[in-house]
């Protein structure tokens, strides 16, 4: 129980820190924030700057003229009510924009993470069992090469591949957008299938460039676990090799990879800014890029906060599941998992 309290406390503290940092950054944007926005809008239209200014100020989350503390308090209380301000780029509330964008980013990330772990764990374990074979050597080489390719290069290559391919492939893996056109959103086969197809290429970009390192760590851990006394004793006790591979080698070799899982979640969220731009995939990262491009401060702060919340939640979930996988964790045998 104590353990959960501690973890929850850590998560809440991280959230608070991020919210505060976001505020401080916004508060300190050089020049008057509002002036900046007004200039931008007036440039493209011939509306009266004063009307624009009023309209903007009324939609800001805090009064830029107020004191720092006052501004901070208004901002935090608005946040607590779920109000993230108004986005000029999206033309609607930040919370609406993001609530609608987050699931798409999560879809790509979960596809990438699940696929990557499934492939890496199996591959790494097989490589360990066949240590030194051509299969092992070839895969080690391929793993190192793919790992050194940046994800956005993989993204471009994938788009090229699809672009030069025949129509069926292009149809199957659309390189742009996030959902099939002319299909109504909802839990229909056509829509879900379409959404999945659109998520494949972005997910593959992560997977291709990320699986190698993971498979190599799994390989190393498995080789180490294979040398453990308990594996030898299990063999002498006559356990089937299938059981030894899964319950003894696999289970114990996977544990250290939890750190990699966390790192990859954080990495993917960060990279979504670029990747979703490449695929014109309207997720959280896409909006963050748009926000930065247009100096849309409320949207910037919103995406920043949402991404952090996602990381914090993912960390928390990983933490809790880790303690289920490794019985030593809760009794403080090892203290920290990673």
């Amino acid at each position: 129980m104590n353990w959960y309290l501690k973890r929850t406390g850590q998560a809440l503290f991280t959230l608070w820190a991020v919210v505060t940092v976001a505020f401080v950054l916004a508060w300190n944007v050089p020049g008057s924030l509002v002036d900046h926005m007004v200039d931008r809008i007036v440039q493209n239209s011939n509306v009266d700057p004063e009307i624009v200014r009023e309209s903007i100020e009324s939609r800001l989350m805090f009064d830029p003229e107020a004191s720092l503390l006052e501004g901070y308090l208004t901002y935090v209380s608005a946040l607590l009510e779920g109000d993230l301000g108004y986005s000029f780029v999206a033309g609607q509330d930040v919370s609406t924009t993001l609530a609608e964008a987050v699931p798409w980013t999560l879809l790509v990330m979960s596809l990438a993470t699940l696929g990557m772990f499934a492939i890496s764990l199996a591959l790494g374990a097989i490589m360990a069992y066949r240590e030194g074979s051509w299969f092992d050597i070839a895969n080690t080489f391929v793993g190192i090469v793919t790992t050194s390719v940046p994800y956005f290069v993989a993204a471009f290559l994938l788009i090229l591949w699809v672009g030069y391919s025949d129509a069926p492939i292009l149809e199957l893996f659309p390189p742009r957008g996030r959902r099939p056109p002319r299909v109504d959103p909802g839990f229909t086969v056509a829509f879900v299938w379409g959404a999945l197809r659109h998520a494949v290429l972005p997910a593959l970009s992560y997977l291709i460039t990320g699986y190698g390192l993971l498979a190599l760590s799994m390989r190393g851990n498995s080789i180490q676990t294979l040398g453990e006394d308990y594996v030898r004793v299990a063999e002498l006790r006559g356990l089937s090799s299938r059981r030894i591979a899964l319950r003894y080698v696999g289970r114990n070799a996977v544990l250290p990879l939890y750190t990699s899982l966390l790192l990859s979640i954080g990495f993917m969220l960060g990279s979504s800014v670029v990747l979703e731009q490449i695929f014109q995939y309207h997720g959280v990262g896409y909006w963050m890029y748009e926000a930065i491009d247009a100096t849309d401060v409320p949207l910037m702060m919103g995406t920043f906060i949402v991404i952090t919340v996602c990381v914090v939640i993912a960390t928390f979930v990983a933490d809790v599941t880790y303690s289920m996988l490794d019985p030593r964790i809760k009794s403080g045998d090892q203290g920290e998992a990673y």
Partner: protein, 373 residues
């Protein structure tokens, strides 16, 4: 009966006629003949066990003593044909079940070998602390072992609980625990219970108490004694700790440089050790009454497995060594009815290597015990 079984019976009968540390009289449960373990290494072939002949009598506790790197762990693994790769075991190992045909251990099919291990000959490892899967409860270790051998799980778990309580553990508490929740001594005892859950005839223990404190070692020894009586077990106890095993063992076999060099009843070995190395080993065992600076170690270094000395392997360190020793490898010589030593000059050993710490007039069992305290 298969052809293989017939053949192994014949070889077994045939091989009992050989001499060495063997005798034809007692009821043997294991016969090891000319067992050898070698490794291919960059520097050449390394022989980590060389021509070992040994009979294990049914129902006895035999202690195998040697320094680390003397080949004693190899001997332990050999008895289950469980030498780790890339070690290659050759020779003959015959197991005689209580009733039934002799079994040629090294000639068994994988399936039969799986049955032999743990069901007939079981083992407790040196790395006892790490012999349990850390991510699995203790109970599951028992259950999966029973299942792997198609044993009745319910009856098996009943046996497990009895074994655990015989070992002074609370069965349910231990079974419900994860390995890391048990103390070293508890884990060790749980492992002994696990090794006995299929009711084997022979239990091979490789340094089973090495990582435990003195008190725990002591209590485990007395528990082992009880277990042997209750279950008619034969025990092979491998250790570097001569005084420890002297308390428990009926017979002691001493290994030096990958070979067996002396074997005999415990009393005989303690009082009248005939091999200069055994005598040096007895002198080197810590005597807690003596001041620290008087503690001695045996002079010289243990030999390199790739470059074992010719002749008697002990000659570079032996005060009695002469040209014969350098040129020839001594066979076992009969010292007493059941006592043999592989040394040309065993008759002179007592004089050349007098006992320093041990009070030979006192009852050796108790004197050793007292020293160890």
């Amino acid at each position: 009966m298969t052809d293989q079984d017939t053949r192994s019976t014949q070889t077994a009968t045939h091989s009992t006629e050989r001499t060495g540390s063997t005798d034809g009289t007692a009821d043997h449960v294991l016969e090891i003949r000319d067992a050898e373990v070698s490794f291919e290494m960059d520097r050449g072939v390394s022989r980590v066990m060389d021509h070992v002949d040994l009979d294990v009598h049914r129902g006895e506790i035999i202690g195998v003593v040697g320094e680390s790197g003397s080949g004693k762990s190899m001997l332990a693994s050999s008895m289950l044909d469980a030498v780790v790769d890339p070690g290659v075991l050759s020779g003959e190992i015959t197991y005689y079940p209580e009733d039934g045909e002799p079994v040629d251990v090294l000639g068994l099919s994988d399936r039969k070998l799986k049955r032999l291990r743990w069901e007939e000959i079981s083992m407790v490892f040196q790395g006892a602390m790490s012999s349990f899967n850390p991510t699995m409860g203790v109970r599951e270790h028992f259950v999966e072992t029973l299942e792997a051998h198609d044993d009745d799980v319910e009856a098996g778990m009943e046996r497990a609980r009895e074994l655990l309580s015989d070992l002074y553990l609370e069965p349910e508490r231990v079974l419900d625990a994860y390995p890391h929740e048990l103390s070293g001594g508890m884990r060790q005892r749980a492992l002994i219970a696990l090794s006995l859950v299929l009711e084997p005839e022979v239990l091979v223990m490789d340094e089973p108490t090495a990582a435990l404190d003195l008190l725990m070692q002591r209590s485990i020894l007395s528990l082992l004694e009880d277990l042997r009586e209750k279950h008619d077990l034969t025990m092979v106890f491998i250790t570097h700790d001569l005084p420890l095993v002297a308390e428990l063992a009926d017979r002691i076999a001493v290994m030096y440089a990958f070979e067996l060099i002396e074997i005999g009843p415990t009393d005989e070995i303690l009082r009248h050790a005939a091999h200069p190395y055994t005598r040096a080993l007895l002198n080197a065992t810590p005597n807690l009454d003596a001041p620290l600076e008087e503690m001695r170690s045996i002079e010289g270094a243990a030999p390199d497995p790739v470059d074992v000395p010719d002749g008697c392997t002990y000659h570079p360190r032996c005060p009695l060594a002469d040209e014969t020793c350098v040129a020839d490898d001594p066979d076992f010589r009969q010292v007493d009815a059941a006592h043999e030593a592989a040394c040309f000059h065993w008759e002179d050993a007592a004089e050349a290597v007098p006992f320093t710490g041990v009070d030979v007039d006192a009852d050796p069992q108790t004197s050793i015990t007292e020293e160890h305290r």
